[in-house]
């Protein structure tokens, strides 16, 4: 079996699906076994659900999965308390329950390295001056990383001379930006931020001041979900158009990832499709039978990752909907499955007399 370490030295998109699957299947089987032996809850689940098996797995589709929301209800981990190196939590702004992900040193290190391997294929080997569309204070609490803080720290290593665009009150520091850009005239800048923050606190603020910037040749990475933008009727295309208009940047990459599987993210190529790197894969399932759906069908996204060693999160049924558009034949040249995310599964609405007046009703 090729180890993750060995995979890290290769191009993450060079393997065709068939070859990739047989490679990651070995990893996923080993992880299933590992978590079965080390997590009581995981073992109980595999033993109670008929069609799951811990040992008899012959295809990637047969790898048992967990609904991602389970990480909000249970402390799932396959390591001893004293081996916890870091605990990641989802930002959880809308619900009180947050996911808790327990990392040991090895998993944390693999997360960093896989992310680096993926980013390298988009950014190359040079580290460029970097604008982070967020405020610095988000990083202050180092004991428990929120998804936002962890995301920023993870990405910050791929740039240099970091400039945090936002003040603590979320207003953009345009004066600071000007000074930053004066230092690096006409250079390629690496911009990173959460989709919603870039839209609201950068692009909209530029619009307000009737201002545009010329950051030609720069590159933008953004992620963190479309939920808030969907609400405003903003599509990926509109987002890209607006970036081109305001910043003159064509090189815009959305990425799909989650706190439950940090590192092995899915990045959008120039054709507009998200790609699964060698460390991870996706499967689309039918919400009624949970059976695998064919290419082109709309369904619930399952994500696989060979990175989670310290918690049973190597195969997750997400709460996102998506479509796989093809395998190995994306025009961008990357191999493997390519897909788009079409939205989130609507939340359960409480009906009846004990309801949630307390949820903010103001828009």
């Amino acid at each position: 079996m090729l180890s993750v370490q060995e995979l890290l030295t290769r191009d993450p998109y060079e393997l065709g699906q068939k070859e990739k699957e047989s490679l990651i299947l070995e990893h996923l089987c080993a992880l299933t076994k590992r978590h079965f032996d080390n997590s009581v809850e995981y073992q109980n689940i595999l033993e109670s659900i008929d069609y799951f098996s811990a040992t008899n797995i012959s295809t990637v589709e047969e790898v048992p999965y967990l609904p991602v929301s389970l990480f909000k209800e249970l402390n799932l981990k396959s390591i001893k308390e004293e081996d916890i190196f870091k605990t990641l939590t989802s930002s959880g702004t809308t619900s009180q329950m947050v996911s808790k992900i327990f990392l040991d040193k090895e998993t944390a290190s693999l997360q960093t390295k896989t992310l680096a391997a993926i980013m390298k294929s988009y950014l190359g080997n040079t580290r460029n001056p970097m604008i982070i569309v967020d405020c610095k204070s988000i990083l202050k609490d180092s004991k428990i990383f929120s998804a936002r803080g962890a995301g920023i720290l993870g990405m910050a290593t791929f740039g240099r001379n970091h400039f945090y665009l936002l003040n603590d009150d979320m207003t953009p520091d345009f004066k600071g930006l000007e000074e930053f850009l004066e230092k690096f005239p006409y250079q390629k800048i690496f911009i990173f931020g959460f989709t919603f923050m870039i839209w609201l606190h950068f692009l909209k603020e530029l619009n307000k001041n009737n201002q545009t910037l010329d950051l030609k040749n720069s590159i933008i990475f953004h992620g963190g979900g479309w939920k808030k933008l969907e609400h405003l009727g903003i599509s990926n295309q509109l987002f890209k158009d607006e970036i081109e208009k305001c910043l003159n940047i064509e090189n815009v990459h959305n990425f799909y990832g989650m706190v439950e599987q940090v590192g092995s993210i899915y990045v959008e190529c120039e054709e507009g499709y998200l790609h699964a790197p060698v460390f991870s894969d996706i499967i689309i399932r039918d919400f009624k039978t949970w059976k695998v759906l064919p290419i082109g069908s709309h369904g619930v996204v399952q994500t696989l990752s060979i990175i989670p060693l310290s918690y049973p999160g190597h195969s997750l049924l997400t709460e996102d909907m998506g479509i796989i558009h093809g395998v190995d034949d994306c025009k961008c040249g990357k191999k493997g499955k390519y897909f788009t995310i079409s939205g989130r599964i609507p939340k359960v609405e409480v009906r009846g007399c004990s309801d949630t007046y307390t949820e903010s009703e103001a828009p």
């Binding site: 039978t289 009906r351 009846g352």
Partner: protein, 412 residues
């Protein structure tokens, strides 16, 4: 801040205007005055006639409850128990805080308050439903006639974005606050200042359970057992188990053998009903059900193996009675907790403080009476047969609402 009146006449109004208007209030209506009954029974026939009511069973049920014969029954019962020396008067202004989501329950409590002759301010959530707009439409349309002009002076259905200032304002006008919406809403409103003698009727979070006497269910022939199960279906699936009166847990009472047999029969029968009703979970419910199944599986103290692909079936999750009290399982989307007990009196020690309705099958009236007498907890407000869990009654959550909404003037 803006207050939007939705019915009887749509308009925006300021607090100051509202205050002026309420300071001049005269309470001239007496409980159960004829015009009150006339208005509600007209409303009843209008609601029943709406073509939507065929598709909305909640609307039909409300229309049916408001019909004249039922109102007369409520009136009769009220006076039957009234003391001779007491003259009944309205309490004054009742401020209703309606729950946010689709539910007609606050219309029932409004109707009782209306029958008591009170002036009513009903705060409706801004995320209103089509069901509520139909009801408000009809309330407004009727108020437009000369006969019912008094509605315009005495009743307001309104909405505003969550705002403590306006909540305080209405709380200080009110003689009674009727607070729906569960624990959190209740605690928000309890922190606001009211008149010293304002009466609060609070509806906290409640849960309900079903209890089946296994031996009685096992005796039923197929047709009868299907009918009983269908009643249970109506109780639980109507509001996706989210109504506080919908059973979330099913207790089977009997010997272990009887309970195993009965629960498997009941499960089969319920799945037949689901098939007949063409019921299946939507994607949200299906995902939430999947989580419930995995959560249950992770604890493993259950008897059988689970099939996550059960979007069109009911899922029963076994719970030991000893663990029931600590169970945090969220039963919804066709997931039911299943508990075996040997005796109905075993229910006493598993009862949580927030139990509202016990929906029963197979018990005699005297058995239940004995159980309620022997119950040592402060919970269980209603004990009703299968099929009646959602029927609103003027005795609700342990309150006799009709009596709470009138002022009893003692004349000696």
């Amino acid at each position: 801040m803006n207050i939007q009146i939705l019915a009887p006449t749509q308009k925006a109004i300021t607090q100051t205007k509202f205050k002026e208007y309420f300071e001049d209030s005269l309470f001239q209506i007496i409980p159960f005055e004829q015009k009150l009954l006339n208005y509600l029974s007209s409303l009843s026939s209008h609601l029943i006639k709406r073509k939507e009511s065929k598709l909305m069973p909640e609307l039909m049920a409300l229309g049916f409850w408001l019909r004249r014969s039922n109102l007369e029954k409520i009136k009769k019962e009220f006076f039957l128990h009234a003391k001779k020396s007491v003259i009944n008067k309205p309490r004054g202004v009742v401020f209703h805080i309606a729950p946010k989501n689709v539910d007609t329950i606050f219309i029932y409590s409004w109707a009782l308050s209306f029958l008591s002759g009170n002036h009513n301010i009903v705060r409706i959530s801004s995320s209103g439903s089509s069901l509520i707009s139909i009801i408000l439409d009809e309330i407004s349309a009727l108020a437009d006639t000369q006969e019912y002009d008094f509605i315009n002076q005495t009743q307001s259905f309104l909405t505003y974005a969550r705002n403590d200032d306006i909540n305080s304002f209405f709380s200080q006008i009110a003689n009674v606050r009727m607070i729906w919406g569960g624990d959190e809403t209740v605690s928000i409103f309890k922190q606001l200042k009211t008149k010293p003698n304002t009466k609060d009727i609070c509806f906290a979070n409640k849960e309900s359970i079903a209890c089946i006497k296994s031996s009685a269910y096992l005796k039923l022939d197929e047709e009868r057992s299907l009918k009983v199960t269908e009643d249970f279906y109506n109780d639980s699936y109507w509001f996706d188990q989210m109504a506080c009166s919908s059973p979330k847990f099913i207790f089977f009472m009997g010997s272990k053998k009887e309970n195993i047999l009965c629960s498997s029969l009941f499960e089969k029968s319920l799945n037949r009903v689901l098939k007949k009703k063409d019921h299946y979970e939507d994607i949200t419910a299906s995902v939430s059900k999947l989580k419930n199944i995995f959560l249950a599986a992770s604890k493993k103290n259950y008897l059988k193996s689970y099939d996550p692909a059960s979007y069109d079936k009911a899922t029963f999750i076994d719970i030991n009675p000893e663990e029931f009290l600590n169970s945090t399982m969220k039963c919804q989307s066709g997931t039911f907790g299943k508990v075996f007990i040997e005796d109905i009196f075993d229910l006493d020690y598993v009862l949580k403080d927030n139990f509202q309705t016990l929906v029963y099958f197979g018990f005699s009236h005297s058995e239940l009476e004995e159980f309620i007498h022997s119950n040592t907890k402060t919970s269980i407000d209603r004990v009703v047969p299968f099929g009646q869990a959602l029927n609103f009654d003027k005795t609700w959550d342990g309150h006799d609402l009709m009596n709470e909404l009138v002022r009893h003037v003692n004349l000696i």
